[in-house]
Symmetry: C2
Subunit: 300 residues, 2 copies
């Protein structure tokens, strides 16, 4: 039986002062139950956002002390399975998000999931695309609220963070203090109204320190690509940061000559939005693993 | 036999003063031959970018007077076939592009195409993804160099602009004065080093005025999605512009209530980069046509 971390074990900021709720071994399968981003406060269309207790928004389950994870280590979180709940909620918030200047009415929508389909207002049916919004480790210094992304991870809202993929973090404090929450049954790149289909869920994962010193983190690996993630106050800074992080990975770690790396990034790399609505914006740069293999490099 | 516009009929800026090189009927199939963005000046690895005559960069073939196209009309360009050449070139330019701060060596690479594969330095082989970088109509006022994108189109470098898709423009002057050029055999979203696989090519298309008054242009339609394109000095402005244009389309034209439009844009819409390296940055917002159909709307 895998160790289960229940969803009432939550924290609201990634901080070097966090106390672990449990200790896990490297390579051990662990199940993390997560609340939705409202900690279950929104259950029906009459639960409006102005009634929220904001002290209970963006909970992450954890933190977990990973045995043997030391500051500076690269920690790989292998996302074995990301399962989302049967009910999701969304809200519109006047003044917030990419359309906050024109949205004037608060509204709550409840979405049902039927198998791998999500249903919006009993009208629009689309494919579920489960993902984890908040995931990370404690930073070495300073506390970061869970609603904010950063070098430690946090609220990156990256649609690649789902079943079958891996996320890499640089450990900031002994034991890493890993946690995750804020799952979405579906979300498009951009997260225009500051939420996707917000839902509770269950993550089954393994944590492992890997030999990838110097990896620009947060970093994601899927079966077909790698991605460098960067968050900054402006999209121009975030785009430049993600691009430079990928160039650093390709030149320093994969050992591709800089000009080749740049030209290949222009040819087969893809700059993508994660979200444009949090305190910092998040961008990722995706690059195909097939090209890494041609240069004799494989992820561990 | 379709009318053929040869690639020596070029212009270098979209302007209300342009004189047409030919007149075409609405619905008529036309073939436009295009130069690469260097007007063929780069043929081997020894042709470096500092030897370029910059007066001959970013040629577009045309302009064409479209019979009956009047200012304010929405002109649909149906991209029946986009074919790229067998040789492409790429350059690195110190100081230019998203990695211009770290790229110090000028270099030219020549890429071959074999069928639907593109080959970089006889080492990396990947799928060709032909696309048109520069495409547009004359603006009603002011001249815009072909290297710059804008409301009239221009150098948008949008990877959706390819065979089987449609691009919509608002006509600025009588006859529209349509032109295109700057094809790429492949380019990733972002266009990191300011070029893709730059190649001459051939576009077969039809131009038609359509009844879509108020459409936010430039606008793209593929078999599965629609996209609003917006260019601005910063990525934050470009992202906001593309997002608001799509919201305007969904609410004003498709008649989706604003809150539903915003939530669906957050759920199944995708904000994407076109390019981050031209004088203005270009972003698009993609939205699935399947959802439009659920609200009873079809593109003409």
């Amino acid at each position: 039986m895998a160790r289960v971390i229940p969803r009432d074990k939550v924290f609201f900021a990634f901080s070097p002062e966090l106390k672990a709720v449990d200790k896990v071994d490297q390579g051990e399968e662990v199940i993390l139950q997560t609340h939705d981003c409202f900690e279950g406060q929104i259950q029906s269309t009459s639960d409006l956002v102005d009634q929220l207790d904001w002290a209970h928004v963006n909970p992450a389950t954890g933190p977990l002390y990973v045995q043997g994870a030391m500051p500076g280590d690269i920690l790989c979180i292998d996302l074995l399975d990301v399962q989302v709940g049967e009910q999701s909620s969304m809200v519109t918030v006047p003044g917030e998000g990419a359309l906050g200047d024109i949205i004037t009415q608060m509204e709550t929508a409840i979405l049902r999931r039927e198998g791998n389909q999500v249903i919006f207002k009993d009208k629009i049916r689309f494919q579920a695309r489960p993902m984890i919004g908040v995931i990370g480790v404690a930073p070495a210094e300073d506390e970061v609220p869970n609603g904010t992304p950063g070098p430690h991870g946090g609220n990156m809202d990256c649609t690649l963070i789902t079943t079958g993929n891996k996320v890499y973090f640089t450990v900031g404090v002994e034991g890493a203090m890993f946690g995750a929450g804020d799952m979405h049954a579906a979300m498009g790149d951009g997260e225009i109204v500051v939420c996707g289909a917000e839902t509770p869920g269950t993550l089954r994962f393994k944590a492992q320190v890997v030999d990838l010193k110097g990896l620009p983190t947060p970093f994601v690996e899927t079966p077909h690509l790698v991605a460098a993630i960067y968050s900054a106050p402006t999209l121009d800074e975030a785009a430049s940061g993600a691009t430079h992080r990928m160039a650093q990975f390709l030149t320093d770690i994969v050992k591709i000559p800089l000009n080749d790396a740049g030209m290949l990034m222009s040819l087969v790399g893809e700059l993508k939005f994660c979200q444009i609505v949090d305190p910092l914006k998040t961008v990722r740069f995706e690059f195909p693993k097939k090209v890494l293999a041609e240069y004799g490099f494989q992820m561990p």
